[in-house]
Every structure is written in C-alpha cells, then in structure tokens.
C-alpha cells in the first residue's frame, strides 16, 4: 500500500496504528460478545467489498452473492468431512473453498453476465435460491439437517480470537485487492462498462473478459469467508449460510457507503452492522426491521450515490481532508 500515490504518510501511519489496535483487541480480554460482533462486522465488510468489485464498479447488481458465501461454507465443510481434516487444517481448507466459489462463479457468470440490469439481478437471485434449495434437498450434504464440523479444542475466548484475526486478515486482503483494482487499468475498464458498455467495447475493451474476471474475484472472497464462518460456527445449515436477506443486505451496505469507492462498502457495512445490532438489542425485531426498511428508502431517495458522496457534497469547505480519507 506504501507506494500508492493517494496515501499521505500521516494517513498511512494512522491506518497502521488503527489496524494494530484492532489486531491486539481480542487479546486484551474483552467479553466474547464483542469479539463475535467484530467478527460479524468483518464478514460484512468482506462481503460488501467483494460484492462491490462487480456490483459497484461495473454496475452489474448481483442479488445472489450470498450463494458464494454459502458454497464456500459447504465446500469447506465437505473438504473437512471427505479428507478427515483436523480442525486446524479445515480452516486452511477455506482457501480451496474460495476457489470452488470462484469456479462456480465463472461457470454461472459466463451465461449470466450477458444479461443486463434487472435481468442480471433476477438471475443471480434465482441462482442463490436454486443453490440453496438443491443443497437442502441433497441428503449427502446434510439436507435440511445441516452439517456439523469439528471445532478447535481450545477455550472459547482463544478460538474466537483466532477466528477474529483470520477474518481480519481476510478483510484487509479484500480491501487491499479492491483498492488495487480501483486504481488499476482493470478498474478503469470496469468503470467504463458501468458508464456505457457499448462504447467501452468500441474502445477495444474486452468487456466479457473483464466482467467475468471481476465476477470471479468478487466470488472468491465470500467463498473464503464462508469457509471460515463454517469453521467458526462448527455448524452450517442452508437457512444460515444461504439467507437471501444477507444477499440484499450486502447490496444495501455497499450502496449505502457508496459503490464508486473501495472505501464505500467498508463504511456502509460498518455503520449498518452497528445500526442493526443496536436496533435488534433495544427494540422489538419487527420495529427494527421496519426502521431498516425505511433506511433503504432514505438511502435511495436522498443519497443515491452513497453516504460518502453525500458527505463529500456537504463538506465542500474542507475537501482536502476528506479527499485524503477517501483515497
């Protein structure tokens, strides 16, 4: 990240200090609840950021991204089962699980990415439903009973802290990749697709290849996250890892933050996870979800380009400081 022109030395230092603080946080002995909560925040940041690679940059809204998370979780569980992996090795199996997600994304993306706008959104949503229902109906995948994994034979604080660190690493890697893509020629190509795909093609941009690459990358990280999540929970069920609401939540988080920046989903996911947690702690679930629904409407009507863009236009007086934070 160091040689990136956008980072001033001070910001870089701040980021490093912040990351170090987060890294040592679980070893200071906070209640397990906070570690688990932070773990969830990391998952959502990873999902929203990787979603943004296809959804935010190219404007191809995948409403079924949770499928890749679920496939990763199931792949990791099945690797563990078939090869009789020890719990520690099973965690490592998350990476091949991510590759499985990626492979599937290429297979599915090839026909689906020819569709645009709402058609792409619907077909990805259908894909998520089909995968969930298929797994639910196949008995060797645990069917409607779910699958159990072996947990780490460690005290709960320690194992949770280990997963916290692993997820943190994954989140940072995802953010780094998203940042690199945004600054690269590849990222410019993706943005060109969002602006106007036909024009991009006439400018000799190989749009099908770019789209499928972006889709594959954006499926890899959710797959790894799914694998880690499976090892973390030690139990997976289609209802948990294929929750369609999560799919749509990811979209909202990325758009809430602002899909044009790699930084947007990070902000969106963090804020919304905190809001969600706060709401579900203090108010009845139905009211919490009603407020959540209102949030969708407010975001779309008042900040169609996300909260970062919204804040940027409202903070014209001190743009230098804000620019530094965004880039």
């Amino acid at each position: 990240m160091g040689q990136d022109s956008g980072w001033s030395k001070r910001t870089l230092l701040l980021v490093i200090v912040f990351i170090s603080c987060v890294t040592i946080f679980p070893w200071l002995g906070p209640p397990v609840y906070f570690i688990s909560f932070a773990f969830n925040v990391f998952i959502y940041i990873t999902l929203a950021t990787s979603w943004n690679i296809i959804g935010g940059y190219t404007g191809y809204l995948s409403f079924g991204h949770v499928a890749f998370f679920g496939i990763g979780a199931y792949a990791a569980a099945i690797f563990g089962m078939w090869f009789g992996l020890s719990p520690a090795l099973n965690i490592l199996a998350s990476i091949p699980a991510g590759l499985v997600s990626m492979l599937l994304a290429i297979l599915v993306g090839y026909p689906c990415l020819r569709l645009r706008g709402p058609y792409f959104a619907v077909i990805t949503l259908c894909f998520a439903f089909v995968t969930e229902l298929t797994i639910r109906n196949l008995d060797f995948l645990g069917g409607a009973d779910g699958l159990w994994l072996k947990g780490l034979a460690l005290p709960i604080e320690v194992s949770r802290s280990i997963f916290f660190e692993l997820m943190l690493v994954l989140t940072l890697v995802t953010l780094f990749v998203a940042n690199r893509i945004e600054k690269s020629k590849f990222g410019s190509g993706l943005r060109a697709i969002k602006e106007d795909e036909e024009v991009a093609q006439t400018m000799a941009i190989n749009t099908p290849k770019l789209k499928i690459t972006a889709f594959a990358i954006s499926a890899f990280f959710p797959g790894v996250a799914g694998g880690l999540y499976a090892c973390y929970l030690t139990y997976i069920h289609p209802d948990i890892v294929f929750d369609v609401n999560v799919s749509i939540l990811i979209v909202l988080m990325a758009l809430f933050g602002g899909g044009a920046f790699w930084f947007g989903p990070l902000v969106g996911a963090t804020i919304l996870t905190f809001v969600n947690e706060g709401l579900s702690t203090f108010v009845k679930a139905e009211y919490a979800r009603i407020i959540y629904g209102c949030l969708f409407i407010i975001v779309i009507i008042f900040m169609p380009n996300g909260i970062l863009e919204f804040a940027k236009t409202r903070m014209v007086k001190k743009p230098a400081k804000f620019e530094a934070a965004v880039k």
Binding site: G59, L61, P111, C112, R114, L115, G117, P118, Y119, A121, V122, I123, C126, F127, F129, V130, L133, T134, R136, N137, V244, I248, V251, L252, L255, E286, Y287, R289, I290, Y292, G293, C294, L295, F296, I297, V299, I300, I301, P304
Partner: protein
C-alpha cells in the same frame, strides 16, 4: 401415463396460472411503462389477502366481496407511494435498479407491519365452498380455483379494456410509447404514472386474494410470489398484458404438471431453474412484445 391425471393437472394448472397472471399484470405494467420494478408488488397482494381473511373471519364477508374494500384502498395507497417515494427517483439514471432497492425497503416495511398486526402463523382462507367440487365427465373442478380463474379473467379483461378504450388508458399507453411527445400533447406524466401505479397495486390486491383462495399464506409468502411474478412477466414479455396472461397460464400448467409427477421439494428448484433458463435464452419473453 394416466390421461385423466394429465388433463386434471392441465386444468388445475391453467386455473392457478390465471391467478399468477392476475398477480403479474400490474407488475408487468409498472415495469414496462415506468421502468419501475416494484419488488413490493406481491407484498401489497399479501396485505389484501390478510385483510380478506380478517373480514371473512370477523364479518363473514366473502373474500371476493372484500375486494370492494381492498381495491380502492390499495389504489389510494399505491398513488401515495408513487407520489412520495417513487416519483423522486424516476429522474435518476438507473431507475430500474434503484426502484428495486427502494421497493425492497417498502416490502420489508409492509411484511413487518403484517407480522405486527396478524402474527407469523400461516393462514388458510376456508370458505363454505373451499372443498366443494363439481365434475364434468371424469374431470373435477374445485370451486375456489374456478372462482380465482374467473376473477383473473375479469381482472385481465378489465385492465386490457381500460388501456385500449378509456382516455386515461390511452394516455397511459401514449406516455409509455413516447414519454416526451405525450407531454407535449398535454398529458400530465406524473399524474398518469401515479394512476398506473395505483392501478397496478390494486390489481396486486385482486391477485393476492386469488392466491389466498388457492394456497395457505403467511407474512413471508410474498417472497415466493415475487419469483412467480418475475416468471410470469419475463415469460410474457415485460409490459405485455396479454403476454403476462399467457405466461401465467404456461407457468401454471408447468407447475401443475410437475406437481403431479415430481416430488414436492423439487418443484421450486424446477421453477427457479426454468426462470434462469428463460432469462438466458429468451430474456425478452417467449412471445413478441406488443407495445
């Protein structure tokens, strides 16, 4: 293969499909005319179903009669939703996508309001004629399905007549074909869009009551109904009313036949898989789109 069984499934499929079509025409209309994908369409239908249920339980009012109450109120509600929520975003570049997210928010709100008012239990609309059948030759007809079918026929015809024969309907079609030119001719686009949206939501109410007569329903049912909506509209071609009607029947026949020959839990896999295949190979519908 048992021929009677095939015909029986065919008939019940057509009757179910007609109700899907009734639920789908409004969805098709808003998508085609205004480029607004109203994901909460099925949720409005679900509200009508719950209201019909309560009116039936408390006052013994027939579900079809309850439409006299629900349709005007849903029309009003739809107009309000359009005026205050949809209209502000119609000028944005990506209306289709932002409308999906916005109406998804509406769907969440409505679903949770239903949960607050009616609770999470599945309901079944059991009227005096629910289990009555009549027979023509070896084939049996269930009253609720026949009633749903008739409702759908009346509903689709009414909307088609409205669009072709009335001045407002013609204005809707004009606004749809040439939005700028129609405004030059003195058509108030905002008002016309509001009426279209209100009508669409009201038709969703009729469709919801029709669905309630066929299936049990609960606050989350609208998710599955939504998939049927997409199926009906995409098979029929976006914005094509008669296409949606035909698409609905086709989907009904396919599910009807698969219900007879496929284990229950695989039916939805088939439905979703079918939608994916249609999207890949014929994204603009099986029929020629009629503007």
């Amino acid at each position: 293969m048992n021929l009677v069984l095939v015909f029986q499934s065919l008939i019940s499929g057509i009757m179910m499909g007609a109700v899907y079509a009734l639920l789908g025409i409004g969805f098709s209309l808003t998508w085609g005319v205004m480029k607004v994908i109203n994901v909460s369409h099925a949720t409005f239908g679900l509200i009508a179903a719950f209201v019909a249920y309560t009116l039936f339980k408390v006052f013994g009012m027939d579900p079809v009669a309850s439409l006299a109450v629900t349709l005007p109120s849903l029309f009003g509600l739809g107009c309000l939703v359009y005026w205050f929520l949809i209209n502000p975003i119609t000028r944005a570049k990506a209306v289709i996508v932002s409308s999906m997210i916005l109406t998804f928010g509406i769907a969440i709100i409505l679903e949770n309001l239903i949960l607050l008012v009616w609770g999470a239990d599945p309901r079944l609309l059991t009227t005096s004629y629910t289990n009555k059948v009549f027979a023509i030759g070896p084939l049996y007809f269930q009253y609720p399905r026949v009633l749903g079918f008739l409702m759908a026929v009346v509903g689709v015809t009414a909307i088609q007549l409205f669009l072709k024969r009335t001045l407002t309907g013609k204005a809707v079609r004009a606004a749809w074909q040439q939005s700028e030119a129609s405004q030059l001719c003195g058509i108030n686009l905002k008002k016309i869009s509001m009426i279209t949206f209100g009508l669409a939501v009201a038709s969703a109410g009729a469709g919801g009551v029709g669905m309630a007569m066929l299936y049990s329903f609960e606050p989350h049912s609208h998710n599955l109904w939504l998939i049927y909506l997409f199926l009906v509209v995409i098979v029929g071609g976006v914005g094509n009313i008669l296409g949606a009607a035909a698409g609905g029947m086709l989907i009904g026949v396919i599910t009807g036949l698969s219900m007879a020959f496929l284990p229950y839990q695989w039916i939805n896999v088939l439905t979703f898989g079918l939608l994916m295949l249609i999207l890949i190979f014929r994204p603009h519908g099986l029929f020629r789109s009629e503007v």
